[in-house]
Symmetry: C2
Subunit: 190 residues, 2 copies
């Protein structure tokens, strides 16, 4: 059983103990070293990953051959290439651990079985998608409406622990500016 | 009954004729003039809108007091302020018709009733959210990985009809550049 996953689900829907058991049996526990790839471009994304411990990043390689971070996965976050999953097409991004991590993998065909057995899980995953969509839409809003410095300060205030945990150059990539610019911003504060 | 909505749902889940009837009874048909506001900042977004005919835009006013378009709603697209809906907090955006439009409104409390009566609709709305998330994530990818000209050409190729229908300055706003830049791009082509 995976109490952390069950606690997360319980925030949105109630499962019976049989349903909890059935769900946990479908999850695959992955114990991963730092820098392990869960997904690479060209491969099919086969399901969703739930981060138990550690830290995961999702990124693309831009045409300028630099890494561009699309999303991070922290404890109790789901991560996947939703486009690859939805359209059953090859992934366009990497998903990689940044720290030694424990991750639960839910294969898409197992998820379909679970949806039939436990229809309430549709609601849970609908709400997870809605939450992810809101986060992504806010990001678009920030990119269009905030300059680099404002974006940095907003993020630093909203996610202080996260700012400490993620390597500087990755944070810069996520926020969409150069590591040099980030260093200058940090220097200003001290 | 609203055959256009039912045809859209049928692409994802099968409903019985009783379920279809029950669903349609919960929808409210709005016949709207051009430039009607469906939502304004500060008000609570009370549900989801399904566009039958016409065209709708979702936009914010930036700190520089210009309009920034977040999304468009075309025929058979759903549109709402998901953040306002999800967190039950005041909306931060406008939703407004750009053409005379017919729109179906599904109040959130009616949607909750429908989810209890017809659990299959959870799947439908989960897939709609996943689709919207994918579109929004692609948009972030484009913003980070394409210059203005590439973004324009991608969009022109992917959505030719749409490009014709939307006023120039709104298209520029959506793509994140100035109307002047868009005029120069178009002039280049002829």
């Amino acid at each position: 059983m995976y109490p952390q996953l069950l606690a997360h689900i319980r925030r949105y829907v109630d499962l019976t103990s049989d349903e909890e058991k059935s769900l946990c049996e479908k999850m695959e526990l992955l114990k991963l070293k730092k820098k392990t790839f869960l997904l690479e471009p060209g491969k099919l994304c086969k399901g969703n990953y739930f981060v138990l411990t550690g830290l995961v990043r999702q990124y693309i390689i831009t045409k300028k051959l630099s890494e561009q971070i699309i999303a991070f996965g922290l404890e109790s976050w789901w991560i996947a290439d939703q486009e690859s999953l939805f359209n059953k097409q090859p992934a366009t991004c990497y998903i990689q651990t940044l720290e030694p991590s424990e991750v639960l993998f839910l294969n898409e065909s197992n998820r379909e079985i679970l949806f039939k057995e436990i229809p309430k899980l549709e609601k849970y995953f609908r709400l997870m998608m809605q939450k992810s969509f809101v986060a992504m839409q806010r990001r678009v809003g920030f990119m269009l409406n905030q300059n680099d410095e404002e974006r940095y300060h907003f993020f630093a205030k909203a996610y202080p622990d996260f700012m400490q945990r993620v390597p500087q150059y990755m944070l810069a990539s996520y926020l969409g500016f150069t590591p040099q610019f980030l260093s200058r911003l940090r220097a200003k504060k001290t």
